[in-house]
Amino acid sequence: APPEWDWRKNGAVTKVKDQGMCGSCWAFSVTGNVEGQWFLNRGTLLSLSEQELLDCDKMDKACMGGLPSNAYSAIKNLGGLETEDDYSYQGHMQACNFSAEKAKVYINDSVELSQNEQKLAAWLAKKGPISVAINAFGMQFYRHGIAHPLRPLCSPWLIDHAVLIVGYGNRSEVPFWAIKNSWGTDWGEKGYYYLHRGSGSCGVNTMASSAVVN
């Protein structure tokens, strides 16, 4: 893997979004990944709809939570994702209003990624942003810098927040993952969270996944 990589500089990441008072992080993590996959495989960066997943992904629980692997499956079964503009975010569940004619992107499959962070870095640099799920310990009060909580406090077994890794690198020789969150730009570093890389910090390597776009 290259020593550092940032998909924000390569046009594969849309602006930071805000899930509002809703536990829909899973939808934002997945749409962020599909946005990246569509850009890298079909050449267009589109901002995709999380509301469609909240309303139409019956395997998951909208604001009460959901799983990326279920969401990929729902996107496949539904026939694709509409854009944010066509199916805008409301922050609470409504009746499903998806129409296949309006779907702008589709996915063919989804894969689970390695738990080896070096392999994850190599995969990210070549294939695009990665959906991950982490323990959100400390994130309520995170302002900036590279977070590296003590392992017992940020156990990889207590995963409770899904986000998107868009890059990695080093700051003053401290390795980090650059993570796109969905709590708006007035949180963290303009909406981004920087987490220590290489130590399995907060379980960042335990649930990495991606859609596949042929």
Binding site: E112, A122, Q140, F141, R143, V174, D186
Partner: protein, 227 residues
Amino acid sequence: APAQSGAADAQGWGPPPPELLGPARFALEMYNRGRAAGTRAVLGAVRGRVRRAGHGSLYSLEATLEEPPCNDPTVCQLPVSRKTLLCSFEVLDELGKHMLLRRDCGPVVTKVTDDGNEALNSGLPLLTKDPLSQDFSVKMASIFKNFVTTYNRTYQTKEEAQWRLSVFASNMVRAQKIQALDHGTAQYGVTKFSDLTEEEFRTIYLNPLLREVPGKKMHLAKSIGDP
């Protein structure tokens, strides 16, 4: 199990409703553990709710504790006047056995000032004679005012403002603890979530399904460079 309504869900302050008495007394016992007679805190008002789950019940309590005055230099380095603490406890009761899961306490004041800014000051120990805590509360009030302005917060009632100020103050302490326990370069402090309790933040913004439910099985991607 959904929270029970009725006494156990009492929202107002007052003497502990019968159902909360047991766990409230257990929490006080834990708080006073190791203290000699005469130095133990006393339970004041209690409110809270209970959630039933399986064979147990999870009590989320908010209680005021009255700390006795302390002038004995062998017990406390500085003389401490009578102090009221606002505490939140989580007590798990399983088959009659109590377990303290969480304890957060911070100073509050029980009298109201007359300087016209009651909502923000009455939640802090402004009236205690203790110069240290006076300084603390002046600073905290100013930080909280900045927070309210920065994030455009509005609170429906004075009571809510008081409550949110006390949550904010205890969150500042929590953020400092998290800061002390982080060995990266991250800075923790005031964010737009600083007036939410940990439970509110977890319930509204996080996603417990991620650890509770196994998702659909996906096959493993080939590693990069894998022939």
